[in-house]
């Protein structure tokens, strides 16, 4: 249990430091046009990586399983302009159904 509490304290401190570093470093300085251009492209890069890593990897392996079907179904729901909660529900239901069928 001590290990759990120690880890929680260390991880909380590390996360706070990572989140504080940018604002502490930059303060109220405005970024130049080149930095701004890179930041404007940060969101598609970050989100693509998060989607793929959470969908088709497990640890250090690439894995195709029910998660991919769920996220693909979410993509179809998005194309059909479904509201956000419906998109999430479609993903969850598809994944759960496949796992149920796979036993």
């Amino acid at each position: 249990m001590t290990a759990v509490w120690l880890t929680i304290a260390l991880v909380a401190a590390a996360s706070a430091t990572l989140k504080a570093a940018g604002p502490l470093l930059l303060g109220d300085r405005e970024l130049g046009p080149r930095a701004t251009a890179v930041i404007a492209s940060l969101a598609p890069a970050l989100l693509t990586a998060l989607v793929l890593v959470d969908t088709i990897t497990a640890g250090r392996r690439l894995v195709v399983d029910a998660r991919l079907a769920g996220v693909a179904a979410a993509g179809v729901a998005l194309l059909l302009r479904a509201p956000v909660l419906v998109v999430l529900a479609v993903a969850v239901a598809t994944t759960a159904l496949l796992r149920l069928l796979a036993g």
Binding site: M1, A3, V4, W5, L6, T7, I8, L10, V11, A14, S15, A16, L18, K19, A20, A21, G22, P23, L24, L25, G27, D28, T36, A37, V38, I39, A40, S41, L42, P44, A45, L46, L47, T48, A49, L50, V51, V53, D54, T55, I56, T57, R60, R61, L62, R67, V71, A74, L78, P83, V84, L85, L88, A91, V92, T94, T95, L97, R99, L100
Partner: protein, 225 residues
């Protein structure tokens, strides 16, 4: 939110409204984290405290799975640092849009979470500060409340993975990504980021591929008139 998923407004209240769907998803994830931590012998209080002070689903799941697999404090902490390293570039990106001096900005920066960051992103390098802070509030509350429910109810809720709840995160990031793919440049950035991330997965510790994929944002310098 309107039908396109963009927040309808820029203030704290608009942010809180825009954050609500993500708060529902976050609550569900919080429940699964609470159940997992309880099953690993964390008790009821530690998972709730963890969610309150770390406020990062991906890092907390990484920590729980490493400690659960018999890993040490150092390995678990290092994994969380890698998983959360994306907050370094994300913090640099939002810093000029926050308010006050360095300390105030660093404090406001603590409220940066993935969904709020993406919702507040104007796409031109700037961020809507009030929207970002407002969007985090319901997610923060939902994360702690969900964790508490999971930790208290524990095994009575069954196996969260059988319920398909682990796809809430990627589906939720897909919703945010769809908003960002506006032109050929953002598509090119996404494709390059995907190749970098998946290419590194077999070789780098978890979290590192995501940070490396952020490098694809350098394509933002290309062909900008």
């Amino acid at each position: 939110m309107d039908t396109e998923g963009r927040p309808a407004g820029r203030g704290y209240a608009a942010g809180a409204r825009a954050g609500l769907p993500f708060a529902v998803a976050t609550a569900v994830l919080g429940v699964s984290f609470g159940v997992l931590a309880r099953q690993l012998g964390w008790g009821v209080v530690a998972p709730i405290v963890c969610s309150a002070v770390v406020l990062s689903g991906s890092a907390q799941f990484a920590v729980a799975s490493i400690l659960g697999a018999g890993g040490g404090v150092g390995a678990a902490t290092l994994a969380a640092v890698f998983v959360n390293a994306r907050f370094l570039p994300m913090g640099l990106a939002v810093a000029p849009s926050l308010a006050g001096g360095r300390l105030r900005r660093a404090a406001e920066g603590q409220l940066v979470v993935d969904a709020s960051w993406a919702l507040a992103n104007r796409g031109d390098g700037g961020f809507e500060r009030a929207l970002l802070l407002g969007a985090t509030v319901p997610q923060f509350g939902a994360w702690i409340a969900g964790t508490a429910v999971g930790a208290v109810a524990g095994g009575f809720l069954g196996d969260p993975e059988a319920l398909g709840l682990d796809v809430v995160f990627p589906a939720f990031f897909l919703v945010l990504l769809a908003e960002e793919l506006k032109d050929r440049r953002s598509l090119a950035v996404a494709v390059l980021a995907g190749l970098v991330a998946l290419g590194l997965v077999p070789f780098a510790p978890p979290g590192v591929p995501v940070v490396a994929a952020c490098g694809a944002a350098l394509l933002g310098l290309w062909n900008r008139s």
